[in-house]
Subunit: 164 residues, 2 copies
């Protein structure tokens, strides 16, 4: 697998190399952008008493209450163990609560508590505010383009959903 491209600047004269260079820059770019978003969002929602990554659980539950950890994990794009621990912490914080499903003993339904329900709009506002700050100066078309490309990237990187 020794694909010695040698020096990066040793271009073979193919335009594909230029695209490859851009693609190589994409991973760091998206990582840094996500870190910035994460940090900004973390500060926005810290006054609500929760941490980055918990906001998605609140919002997902506000749309469909009583989801299982697996559903939440799939919806938010994280692994099940991560969701389990996040739920456990949010339960300790009093935002959500776990209820055993009567029909399937292996299922656990996650419900918003009153406290969690009250924080929904605050969280939504913080997320929207953070997003608005991120796209400050963008045209509406640019925002939609960014959104579309982001989702395409996410779709391209799904290991299972490789329909190519």
């Amino acid at each position: 697998m020794s694909k010695k491209k040698g020096e990066k600047k040793a271009k073979s004269g193919k335009k594909k190399e230029l695209a490859a260079l851009s693609a190589a820059d994409l991973a760091p770019a998206i990582t840094q952008a996500a870190r910035s978003v994460r940090t900004a969002l973390s500060r926005s929602i810290s006054d609500s008493g929760l941490y980055a990554g918990q906001d998605g659980v609140i919002l997902a539950l506000s749309e469909d209450d009583g989801q299982t950890p697996g559903q939440l994990a799939a919806r938010l794009g994280v692994k099940a163990p991560t969701m389990t621990r996040t739920i456990g912490r949010m339960e300790a914080q009093g935002f959500v609560e776990r209820r055993a499903d009567g029909h399937d003993g292996r299922l656990t339904k996650v419900h918003l508590t009153e406290n969690g329900l009250k924080s929904v709009e605050s969280i939504g506002q913080s997320v929207a505010d953070c997003g608005a700050m991120a796209v400050r100066g963008f045209s509406d078309k640019e925002v939609r383009t960014l959104l579309k490309l982001l989702r395409a990237v996410e779709h391209n990187l799904q290991p299972e959903a490789d329909e190519d």
Copy 2:
């Protein structure tokens, strides 16, 4: 699905609200996309023996060897303590080594070891490969647009660089 989005507050009915909704979707989208990139990259470089986040150190050092932790942190967009710990672990793994600067006692220069130097091309290949997979099906123009928007987002979220 009962998506009662307009239920939280009575909006004023301006077209700006539509943009706000897109902006609200941006934070989750970029977070999930970054998670996918991080996971894919982590698997790509795991056979090189290092973890996600360490690749940037290797590549940055391959371009300019002997940088200080602070320079690396600024370059990779992480905080100094994070870089310190990452460097410490990579030093234990044998990829980099710390050397005290003779002129300034408070500075620490980070250098690539022979082992680290050998992994440079493999890492660069993994990053490029991951980026290429992420933008599969994208036109060259779309890739550049995504890159540009990503950097603009990052710039918008810098607390210090608030030139507004």
